[in-house]
């Protein structure tokens, strides 16, 4: 476990120092949870289980921090926002609906909602209040959007089938918030070329995601 309990308190232990205690671990010695395991931790957190929250924190906070640093936030601000995101996870665990999204996707959407239109170099990050838009927007009554644990595998498979350039373009939307003209500058390509390559990359991804059905 990544978490040690000391004197009745739950302590976060940096992932690199974790003992795996029988769990499967990746080659780098880090904990890897399946979405199933994450779901059961989410429902435990919804009942106020701090041990499960500590495990989710150990797993997600360092990934969220990395994502924010990829988005251009400096390490200190990335850490601060990662903490806010995890605080939101604690507060909103009861609103999490496993039928609508995997835990990782849900947490991704919390990060996203907190970083839309934010300035990367904003010194004072002012958004402390829980953001109501973090709630997973679900379909109106009765529509079943059953998200299976397979989804994650399938989405990853789809991503792995993109060409290197297409994967780069897709990632730039999630990590870099780059405009077409910025991508054009980065790749030293004319704007028109970039626009059509972006369209092709998205169409390909869409097809791969649709085909998994």
């Amino acid at each position: 476990m990544n978490v040690a309990i000391s004197a009745g308190r739950y302590r976060y232990v940096p992932a690199t120092a974790a003992s795996t205690s029988g769990r499967r671990a990746s080659a780098r010695g880090l904990m890897a949870y399946s979405e199933e395991e994450l779901r059961s931790k989410m429902s435990a957190v919804a009942t106020g289980d701090r041990q499960s929250f500590a495990e989710l924190f150990a797993y997600f906070a360092p990934k969220v921090k990395s994502l924010l640093m990829r988005k251009g936030y400096d390490a200190a601000l990335a850490e601060e926002i990662a903490q806010e995101v995890m605080l939101a996870v604690w507060r909103k665990a009861g609103l999490y609906d496993a039928a609508r999204a995997n835990p990782t996707t849900w947490i991704f959407s919390i990060v996203r909602n907190r970083t839309i239109d934010r300035f990367r170099n904003e010194r004072r990050h002012t958004l402390i209040a829980p953001d109501p838009s973090d709630e997973v927007e679900g379909p109106p009554d009765g529509e079943a959007v059953l998200v299976t644990s397979d989804e994650e595998r399938e989405v990853r498979a789809a991503l792995s089938r993109l060409s290197e350039e297409q994967a780069l373009i897709i990632r730039s939307f999630y990590f870099d918030d780059k405009s077409h003209s910025q991508i054009a500058t980065d790749l030293s390509l004319p704007l028109g070329t970039v626009k059509s390559r972006v369209r092709l990359a998205i169409a390909h991804l869409r097809k791969l995601l649709d085909d998994r059905e």
């Binding site: 990662a82 009861g94 970083t115 939307f173």
Partner: protein, 217 residues
């Protein structure tokens, strides 16, 4: 109510990824609220975000980071998070507003020209959301106009037509600066639209543009 005009895949992906601004994102979500097809596509693109988060290499936090969060949990009164209803505010035709506006504040509709009223929609935490509601009378013809940025529009009620087609409730229109069009509201009733401009447009420019329509009308 079945939409014929939908957001492009790129717009849905940008909305899911977080690279679309707050105002346009609300317009997109107001569309996916009623469009199952786009809602599914959006959910897939969000799952891509989840997959990318999952594969990212972690960056360790400070040792005290978790304790800091626990302190905050202990220090704060844990409020149950529930969705706050929009209140009694409903659209001019009496129907409820889309759920994506649930946390927005709808301003007074102000007269901007004959048959044309507009309301600024304030989005908490996003002072530059550039989101607005436009109420245009039946059979009103708007002068030709271009766009200075990409404009995202959702028809909430009523319908209008322009050179490229007819737009009914649920329809989503995105137009970039290269497009000039002349919308005419259909004669059977007024039209209510939710619209947002991409990026950091100066509000002055927006008002100026609408005033320009009015002057030329």
């Amino acid at each position: 109510m079945t939409a014929v005009h939908h957001p492009s895949d790129e717009t849905l992906l940008r909305c899911a990824a977080g690279s679309l601004s707050a105002g346009p994102a609300i317009v997109v979500r107001a569309h996916t609220d009623t469009c199952q097809q786009c809602r599914r596509t959006m959910a897939r693109f969000e799952a891509v975000g989840g997959a990318l988060l999952k594969e990212i290499e972690p960056t360790p936090l400070n040792d005290a980071a978790f304790d800091d969060v626990l302190l905050k949990i202990d220090a704060s009164v844990v409020r149950p998070m529930t969705t706050k209803p929009l209140g009694d505010v409903s659209m001019p035709n009496g129907n409820p507003y889309p759920r994506s506006l649930a946390h927005a504040r709808i301003g007074k509709f102000r007269w901007l020209g004959p048959g044309f009223r507009r309301s600024n929609v304030a989005v908490a935490g996003h002072p530059r959301a550039n989101l607005m509601l436009m109420h245009i009378g039946a059979a009103r013809k708007m002068p030709d106009h271009g766009h200075t940025g990409v404009e995202y529009t959702l028809v909430l009620s009523g319908s209008f037509s322009d050179q490229s087609g007819r737009y009914v409730a649920g329809d989503f229109i995105e137009l970039d600066s290269s497009v000039e069009h002349q919308p005419i509201v259909d004669p059977d009733g007024a039209c209510l639209c939710l619209a947002a401009l991409e990026g950091d447009m100066r509000l002055k420019g927006v008002i100026g543009r609408f005033m320009q329509w009015f002057m030329r009308a």
